[in-house]
């Protein structure tokens, strides 16, 4: 009986040690980790007049279960040419604003310490500070750059593998003034002339001819044949970088870059007036276009119904006469 008890205890001890070892060995082989990063704000717009020591907070979050060492990279960018706010990074020789020393003036601080990498613990949010020292007499110019946080990887392995590094960025639009009154023009303002039904898809494209970015604000006012205002489309106040063009969607439809008038039943001629201001000080642009709404399918359906009713009525009358 006692021997059996000892054997059982030995067996339990053996199983425990075996489980412990196998779990340790398994742990060392597990390398499928997940990384989740968060950043706020996604954009920082700065208007500065020299001399200025600009400061702005950036919050970086690590929502992974492991600590992450993030390398901080400052990369200048330009608009991509897709006219939708996408960016492409500048190459080494591309011009980055008027001041060739601007890259050296951009710094990231963790409390009072200048950093080029940061360790963020699991589920931690770090508050960092973006600082830009703009000296007196700096030439007015715009500078667009991304602050990118990229996770470090260790690619050493006995197996063939690819390691995925995650990076997350916030974009900075820095405008060193003083600024003049903005210049620009409406490149495109269109809608199909004939529409059977809504929504009416307006295409609005604006070119910024200024040396600095602008955030225009505008709307499309729709009037019917009697001159009554029957619709309003508010345009998204997007940023248009210096000397670039951007398609402006409506506030309700940022997905496909169209400014949709979400009216399903359209009948008769309409006048759509685009009013857009490039800044608080103007200039203000106004342009009219015209389109016609005619629900052909509904009208054909109604005609068919009327014809059938007339036909049946005549038949009935004939029958009654006979």
């Amino acid at each position: 009986m006692k021997l059996k008890k000892i054997l059982n205890m030995k067996l339990a001890l053996f199983i425990t040690i075996f489980c412990l070892f196998s779990s340790i060995l398994n742990l060392s082989k597990t390398n499928a980790s997940t990384i989740k990063l968060g950043i706020y704000p996604p954009i920082i717009q700065i208007d500065a007049t020299p001399p200025a020591k600009v400061s702005s907070d950036i919050f970086i979050q690590n929502q992974s279960e492991e600590s992450t060492n993030l390398k901080i990279i400052i990369k200048p960018f330009k608009p991509k040419g897709t006219e939708n706010g996408e960016l492409s990074f500048l190459f080494k020789d591309d011009e980055f604003g008027a001041d060739p020393l601007m890259m050296q003036r951009i710094k990231i601080f963790d409390e009072d310490k200048k950093i080029d990498s940061v360790i963020v613990a699991p589920m931690q949010e770090k508050k960092l500070k973006l600082e830009i020292d703009i000296p007196k007499g700096e030439t007015p110019s715009d500078y667009y750059f991304s602050v990118i946080f990229v996770s470090n990887t260790n690619a050493l392995s006995e197996q063939s593998l690819s390691q995925a590094a995650a990076g997350i960025a916030t974009n900075v639009l820095l405008s060193v003034g003083p600024k003049e009154k903005p210049k620009g023009e409406i490149i495109e303002y269109s809608v199909p002339f004939f529409l059977q039904k809504g929504p009416a898809p307006f295409n609005v494209k604006l070119k910024n001819e200024s040396d600095f970015f602008i955030t225009p604000k505008g709307a499309i006012i729709i009037k019917n044949v009697f001159g009554q205002t029957i619709g309003r489309i508010d345009l998204l106040p997007v940023n248009i970088l210096a000397h670039s063009t951007r398609t402006i969607p409506s506030t309700e439809n940022s997905k496909d870059l169209l400014a949709n008038w979400n009216e399903s039943f359209l009948l008769g001629p309409y006048t759509a007036t685009l009013i857009i201001a490039l800044s608080e000080e103007g200039p203000l642009f106004k342009r009219n276009i015209y389109f016609i709404g005619f629900p052909i399918e509904i009208v054909i359906g109604l005609i068919i119904v009327v014809v059938i009713i007339v036909f049946i009525t005549r038949k009935l009358r004939k029958k009654l006469k006979n």
Partner: protein, 245 residues
């Protein structure tokens, strides 16, 4: 028995009171958010304008929700987009950062997957770009598994084509939508692949508008020839999620 119960009740009241008083020490003021809601402050405008034309005017309110506007000496900072009233961060995650191909054998293609997820509630749009630091490489010997050029020899980092033959060698990837339709449109057929861009160039893998839980699956494919030198090949694929401006 009744007396005992009365005693308990009288004790219970002061205990509950003390508990409430002391437990207040642990209450902190936090920004209350989750994936579905955010409690935010009102809109304190910094200034306003009304540019006018002969017939029309457009009213401006410079500034935005108060936490996003900072004014310093000779400068003004606006954090976040003026038209998105949220303080929810822009999130990006990769489900598996280590894509282990195991032991590679000639003419036996190996595929592995991971998932890229974007939660974008604070920007109008976003893109995720990718590039590789170098081709799959044995650092000690310099032996390479070249990037794929697909079956027709024409696929590039900006153009995907079919890769089905087990006699086509190399390393490439494809992107499939798991939710939404944010993968680039190159991969029209399930057999289409392309190579990663070489750093510092980068190619867009995903792009889209505002939304939560935008998931795409990336499939990595590697196939080697019989003459491929033995070794542990590796590289680093960097994905960068960027909000639009």
């Amino acid at each position: 028995m009744q007396l005992c119960s009365v005693k308990h009740k009288t004790l219970l009241l002061p205990v509950a009171f003390l508990f409430l008083v002391f437990s207040t020490h642990f209450v902190f003021a936090e920004t209350m958010t989750n994936d579905w809601y955010i409690l935010q402050m009102g809109n304190f405008n910094m200034s306003s304008g009304k540019p006018t034309g002969p017939d029309y005017s457009v009213s401006f309110t410079a500034g935005q929700i108060s936490p996003g506007l900072y004014i310093g000496a000779n400068y003004k900072v606006r954090s976040g987009f003026q038209y998105i009233y949220t303080l929810v961060p822009f999130y990006f995650s990769i489900s598996q950062t280590s894509i282990d191909f195991g032991t590679l054998t000639p003419a036996n293609p190996v595929t592995r997957t991971n998932t890229l997820t974007v939660n974008n509630q604070s920007a109008g749009g976003y893109t995720v770009t990718s590039n590789e630091n170098h081709q799959l490489l044995v650092p000690a010997t310099g032996a390479l598994i070249p990037d794929t050029t697909c079956d027709d020899g024409l696929c590039t980092s900006s153009n995907a084509t079919a890769w089905t033959s087990s006699l086509t060698y190399g390393f490439g990837y494809r992107c499939d939508d798991l939710s939404d339709t944010d993968c680039v449109t190159d991969f029209t057929d399930s057999s289409f692949y392309k190579p990663f861009s070489a750093s510092p160039s980068a190619t867009v893998v995903m792009s889209g508008a505002t939304g939560v839980g935008k998931e795409s699956q990336v499939t990595y494919k590697v196939n080697i020839s019989a003459t491929q030198p033995a070794g542990a090949y590796s590289n680093i694929i960097t994905y960068i999620a960027m909000p639009t401006f």
